[in-house]
């Protein structure tokens, strides 16, 4: 009996203590500066090119082969041999484009986020933090706040290309610069940015300018839509799944196919990828497009106004 009373007393003593719950989306905990998240390619805003030199060391070291680097290719902005800046300026309206410290660039830099095991070895081996490359790692995992938005529907959507990889580092330019500065701050910067919230909430990656804070009403709408979208679809008599193509023709037509590279950031979204609003759709895709747009309407809650 005494032991039982002791148990009850312990439970009651916890009852009167302060709860430790952190209400996550409302209160975000501060991430330490070493936090490892999704590996990202850092964009060099000064020269408008990735920091990466395409040396492929990260490709080699990655134990799970989630990084694929193709290249390197020559960097057009790198000053050629016996480069005469004055002459160059004279020919180029007074602006010499050959200012890059990087002789080479990666042709393609792909990271399969789903396969990554966040070991951080790519960041460790990255050689671009040397003086001549600008003291900055090209591949960083140090931005954990971004990894929270990485949930997507299809695994393949987690393969990012150059534009997708540097997307965050462009959108969140200020924040990233602070984190990636020569001396990292004590506590990692918490990017509680509206862009991040918007991206997460609606499940749609926008182009940088489209990203903007969401109003409370929109958030609510998004939640409701998420909850009741299947119900709506049923009520409106829409098929929930698309019918398979009747014959093999559509197979080769590339209907609603893979988005082109420049579209791939948008292609991350389920809605757009399905909607077939990708250029070059064969005629067979029109119906799918119509259906897909309705679906996209549901998912992409606040379309471009």
């Amino acid at each position: 009996m005494l032991g039982i009373l002791k148990s009850l007393a312990t439970a009651m003593s916890a009852f009167v203590r302060k709860p430790v719950t952190v209400q996550y989306p409302d209160q975000m905990r501060k991430l330490p500066s070493r936090n490892r998240g999704l590996p990202l390619l850092v964009w060099d805003h000064e020269h408008d090119e990735p920091v990466c030199i395409g040396c492929r060391q990260c490709d080699d070291i990655c134990p799970v082969e989630c990084i694929t680097v193709i290249g390197p290719v020559e960097n057009a902005n790198y000053p050629p041999k016996d480069h005469d800046e004055q002459a160059c300026k004279a020919t180029n309206n007074g602006v010499c484009p050959h200012i890059s410290p990087r002789r080479t660039l990666p042709e393609r830099f792909l990271i399969d986020e789903d396969r990554c095991m966040r070991c951080g070895l790519c960041e460790v081996v990255c050689p671009t933090d040397q003086e001549r490359y600008g003291n900055q790692k090209a591949v960083v995992l140090g931005t954990g706040h971004i990894s929270i938005q990485s949930s997507v529907y299809d695994r393949r959507e987690n393969v990012l290309d150059l534009e997708g990889l540097t997307y965050h580092s462009r959108v969140l330019k200020l924040e990233l610069n602070a984190v990636m500065g020569t001396k990292p701050p004590e506590e990692g910067l918490l990017v509680n940015s509206p862009q991040a919230a918007g991206v997460r909430l609606s499940g749609v990656i926008r182009s940088p300018t489209e990203a903007r804070p969401l109003s409370t009403g929109t958030r609510l709408k998004a939640r409701l839509l998420k909850l009741y979208a299947p119900l709506w679809l049923r009520l409106r008599g829409l098929p929930r799944k698309k019918k398979p193509p009747a014959n093999g023709e559509a197979l080769s037509g590339g209907a609603a196919g893979w988005p082109s590279l420049s579209e791939s950031v948008r292609g991350k979204t389920k809605a757009i990828a399905r909607s077939g609003r990708v250029p070059k759709i064969s005629d067979g895709g029109e119906k799918a497009q119509a259906e897909g747009e309705e679906e996209a309407e549901l998912v992409e809650t606040d379309k471009a106004q």
């Binding site: 290719v73 393609r108 609603a256 893979w258 082109s260 590279l261």
Partner: protein, 385 residues
């Protein structure tokens, strides 16, 4: 790195003799008539014994009061490219000394005496080693596969077993992107694949089914006879053993019938085939995704493709000339394709850059800029196409 470390003919470094006063001396005293090769590892002292001597050595190690190695720490299998080794790490709670015992067997006759009657912990270790290395421990009470219930049929931790390819999503992605841009029509989903593994699996399944039937029959019989649970179990086991023996008798016949390919060749061929098949599946899946099929439809589609492949590869050694020709044509294609792709991508990159610069010069917003670039790309693609 794998090539460097895994040189079959590479000589092992010379063995360092252990310093005097270790547990090896006791071993030598106690087992003076047995040939023991002691050496010093970076941790414990080790002795190499002959397989024939192993039961005696181990029994003595456990039961001799001066050794009293009553704790089996670890039992590992090692594939040295020349033979299979089993390494035992022993520890004595009484004398606080530890030793490493090593014995080896050949690939052709992968048998080792069990030690599970001495240390019960060896039971699962030996089951696991049997499963992963194929070393059969004679006298073990229960050598069922441990980690995979039905057994794999091949030994994954042997060095001859290759590490499976990881699916390459990136490659897919590149391929798809290039295809879409170049407006090339995807090739028909006809790649040769062989049902060899499937057959193998089917045989296994059939065996399991047979076994299950035997078990059921035996159990029914036992119940009808009114045996106790204990007896029933024994009865069932007997029946099972009978089935296994029968199967084992049949196996050599089958083996001799299909003796042409050596096991390793067979294995390699199987792996190659499986890879081919995986490629086919991947392709079919990609196509299905590209078409925007739902999950279930996709599955069905893939299955259909697979079935088609199997049907096609039904008579493997007699492919039609038609089937061969595309294969031959497809073979040299990838490298060319790749180079072309790179060139195309480079060209495209310049187009993008140009367009972007122009857009910037015109002072467009990012959104407009994107659109502009996309248009430029479209134009470029049209030119190419």
């Amino acid at each position: 790195m794998a090539e460097q470390q895994a040189h079959p003919g590479q000589q092992q470094a010379t063995l360092v003799a252990p310093p005097p006063g270790t547990v090896v001396d006791i071993f030598k005293e106690v087992l003076s008539d047995i040939e023991l090769t002691p050496y010093q590892t970076a941790g414990d002292v080790a002795i190499v014994v002959q397989r024939e001597d192993l039961p005696r050595v181990m029994k003595t190690a456990k039961e001799h009061p001066r050794l009293a190695l009553d704790y089996l720490r670890c039992l590992s299998g090692v594939d040295t490219y020349k033979e299979l080794e089993v390494v035992y790490h022993l520890y004595s709670f009484r004398h606080k000394h530890s030793v490493q015992v090593k014995a080896s067997c050949s690939y052709d006759e992968p048998h080792m005496p069990t030690v599970s009657h001495l240390w019960q912990t060896a039971n699962w270790h030996e089951r696991e080693t049997k499963e992963l290395f194929g070393i059969i421990f004679d006298g073990h009470p229960d050598l069922r596969p441990l980690l995979t219930e039905e057994g794999l049929g091949y030994y994954i931790l042997r060095k001859s077993h290759p590490l499976a390819e990881i699916e390459e999503w990136q490659e897919d992605y590149l391929k798809l992107a290039a295809e879409l841009e170049a407006k090339t029509k995807p090739a028909a989903a006809a790649a040769p694949a062989a049902p060899s593994e499937a057959e193998d699996r089917a045989a296994k399944v059939a065996l399991a089914q047979k076994k299950a039937a035997a078990i059921k029959k035996a159990r029914d019989e036992a119940r009808a006879k009114g045996l106790s649970t204990e007896e029933e179990k024994a009865f069932v086991q007997q029946a099972l053993r009978a089935v296994e023996e029968e199967e084992a008798k049949r196996a050599p016949v089958a083996a001799s019938a299909a003796a042409a390919p050596t096991p390793t060749e067979d294995r390699a061929a199987k792996v190659a085939l499986a890879q081919k098949k995986a490629a086919a599946i991947k392709k079919a899946r990609d196509e299905a995704r590209a078409k925007g099929l739902s999950m279930e439809e996709e599955k069905a589609f893939v299955q259909q493709a697979l079935k088609a492949l199997e049907a096609e590869a039904g008579p493997p050694p007699a492919p039609s000339a038609q089937a061969q020709a595309p294969a031959a044509a497809a073979a040299p294609a990838p490298p060319m394709d790749r180079a072309a792709k790179i060139a195309l991508a480079q060209k495209k990159a310049t187009v993008i850059k140009k367009a972007r610069d122009e857009a910037r010069a015109r002072g467009m917003s990012s959104e407009e800029e994107r659109r502009f670039v996309a248009e430029a790309l479209k134009k470029f693609a049209a030119e190419q196409g």
